[in-house]
Symmetry: C2
Subunit: 367 residues, 2 copies
């Protein structure tokens, strides 16, 4: 791997000091911010994530805050998911689409109050789209990036570690709900959520100045749980079918192509700017869709570009993410396949840098 | 330096193959795309840039294309620079501001026709802001990211190399103008511009499929000119006072704070969404502004966060970019300083990771 040149433009986080002390080996850049990708090795981090507990610097999940009388209306303009009846205390995975139904981001939205939302974004400057919409539609809402930096605690022992720092009541937080917990006098939003299938929490740390105190408290309290600094793990997220904006989907794709049709209430999400376009898609259905794909043979190299999926000479899709899974003894992958070839059990081929490989369309992800 | 993890989300370019063959040592990420930062060493690349000619993969300068009857009106909504009287054939450096006058990007806009512009963007998803404005204001204009990837040819021998590939008439292209030149049957926009002070061109390569053919032609024709793969050079760009969005300015700053007041015609740029806010700034003037700063002592480490500039105990500014300049035998830096301390000749101190250092406010950049 080549090196990453440091600059202010690739923003550090409130937890960077802890990440560096833990010996981070590689980063990616996400929302103009450093996101760790490897500590010991991707495989060793994976084993540990599945057996213990990790603290993740995911400050790069920046928040877009909507505040004001039109916040609710604006939030519904952004997504085809029907938000009526959603109460404060909930987190929702919401596809965000443009007027053509193209995916702009796939964040988790947090309803803080009737007139206040946080959108915890994937890797695109959603703030710019939202600000443009607000200006053009003259909405009464303030839009900004607040000083909020998520810190995730993930793994089977996450509840135990969190209970030590925030008290036993943190165990009662249900999936995709949040409650407010105190840390050093600051009220923090803590949700049961996170970018793994191993369970855990996301702490919306604010202000950033308490970041290292919280990091250190988690590390100190979790010593006997073998707590470690970790990060979203490529292998585990593919096994679990967790999509990555920019990798597995872009502005070219509709939510339906991404398998996110269940989050699109195109009949009732009145006001969503992409509603008309998506109503059409909902009626006809997508002609290609994301699928779990199993690539046979030895471990594939890093997937840094689309790998064509072919049926003989005919291109019928692509792979966008892939990794060797030690637990499943195969290459797990995420890709998009045309309708004509997307049935589970279909055998195709994929052109990897290591040559053409047999690939199997699966019914479900691995975990 | 730590490693950069490859993924599709960090997009490759039409020239990546050439960049890799040339032995790129480090990247940054810019508009979700790979931007090389080092080939031999930053200092060796710097020497070579100042004495020969380099070919730069700056495909990460993505284009936002405006096309349609409202393209001109939209372009003026985006910037406080007065665009009346601008004819096709021109390139313009245009601050782009939001409704509060905060900088969203500092691109070069290229007027292709009365109803067609390209905006060659710095590192933020300007497309999202523009699409939001277009939707909210119901403008008759198509906005997209076309298949256009800039390739820069920079250095004192740039004219000689370009003439060999595109003919002698390329020498007649004036600064910040463009003409159309043929390559393998494709008409390419070629402008005399680029992110260095050494002179040269930017070729707007389209389609990307001819990228490597052009790269190889430039390398083959320039062998006796010692042409090399290069990239924007940290030292040279600071010496020349070339600002970097995300490093030296952010959404927090007005153009006036960035020394870009000369590109703000707040009295005549009717329609610019940030005009009212900037009119206020233009009347009162900014209270802090970008300045060339000379940091005394040995070479400073990489500037990966703001370094406070202080007068005793009082914070009066910050450094945002810094590097050791072999040619000037000092650390050259870009920073922002408060009005009370911004006069040339003012002596202050800066808190670097290598300790507190004397710093001098200069009148002008170095080249």
């Amino acid at each position: 791997m080549v090196a990453l040149s440091p600059s202010r433009r690739l923003r550090r986080t409130p937890f960077s000091e802890g990440v560096e002390a833990a010996g981070v080996k590689a980063y990616t850049v996400y929302n103009h911010m450093l996101l760790p990708t490897v500590f010991r090795s991707v495989e060793e981090d994976y084993r540990h994530l599945k057996s213990a507990v990790q603290v993740w610097d995911v400050a790069c999940e920046r928040q877009v805050e909507l505040r004001g009388p039109d916040a609710g209306r604006l939030m519904q303009m952004l997504t085809p998911r029907d938000l009526r009846g959603v109460n404060p205390g909930r987190c929702l995975y919401v596809p965000i689409v443009d007027e053509t139904g193209g995916m702009l981001n796939d964040p988790v939205a947090i309803k803080l109050a009737e007139d206040r939302w946080w959108i915890s974004i994937a890797d695109s400057d959603l703030l710019y789209w939202v600000k443009g919409i607000v200006h053009g539609w003259r909405l009464d809402v303030l839009v900004d990036e607040p000083d909020v930096s998520p810190l995730a605690v993930q793994g089977p022992l996450a509840d135990d570690l969190m209970a030590r720092v925030f008290g036993d009541s943190v165990r009662d937080v249900r999936f995709f709900r949040y409650s407010i917990f105190d840390f050093e006098g600051y009220p923090l939003v803590i949700a049961r959520s996170g970018y793994s299938k191993q369970g855990g929490f996301e702490i919306y740390v604010s202000p950033g100045s308490i970041g290292m105190a919280l990091w250190n408290a988690l590390m100190a309290e979790g010593r006997d749980l073998d707590v470690r600094a970790g990060c979203p793990n490529l292998i585990e997220r593919i096994e679990g079918g967790l999509l990555s904006y920019g990798n597995d989907m872009t502005r070219e794709n509709t939510p339906h192509e991404c398998g996110l049709g269940k989050f699109c209430d195109t009949h009732s999400a009145i006001g969503c700017v992409g509603r008309d376009a998506l109503l059409r898609v909902a009626i006809e259905g997508p002609v290609r869709q994301i699928r779990p794909l199993e690539i046979e043979g030895e471990a594939v190299p890093a997937c840094d570009r689309l790998w064509p999926v072919v049926d003989g000479d005919r291109r019928v899709g692509h792979v966008s993410s892939a990794a060797w899974s030690p637990d499943f003894g195969t290459n797990v992958a995420i890709g998009m396949v045309r309708m004509t070839h997307w049935d589970p059990g279909t055998r195709l081929e994929v052109e990897t840098p290591a040559g053409r490989r047999p690939v199997l369309v699966r019914d479900t992800f691995w975990i």
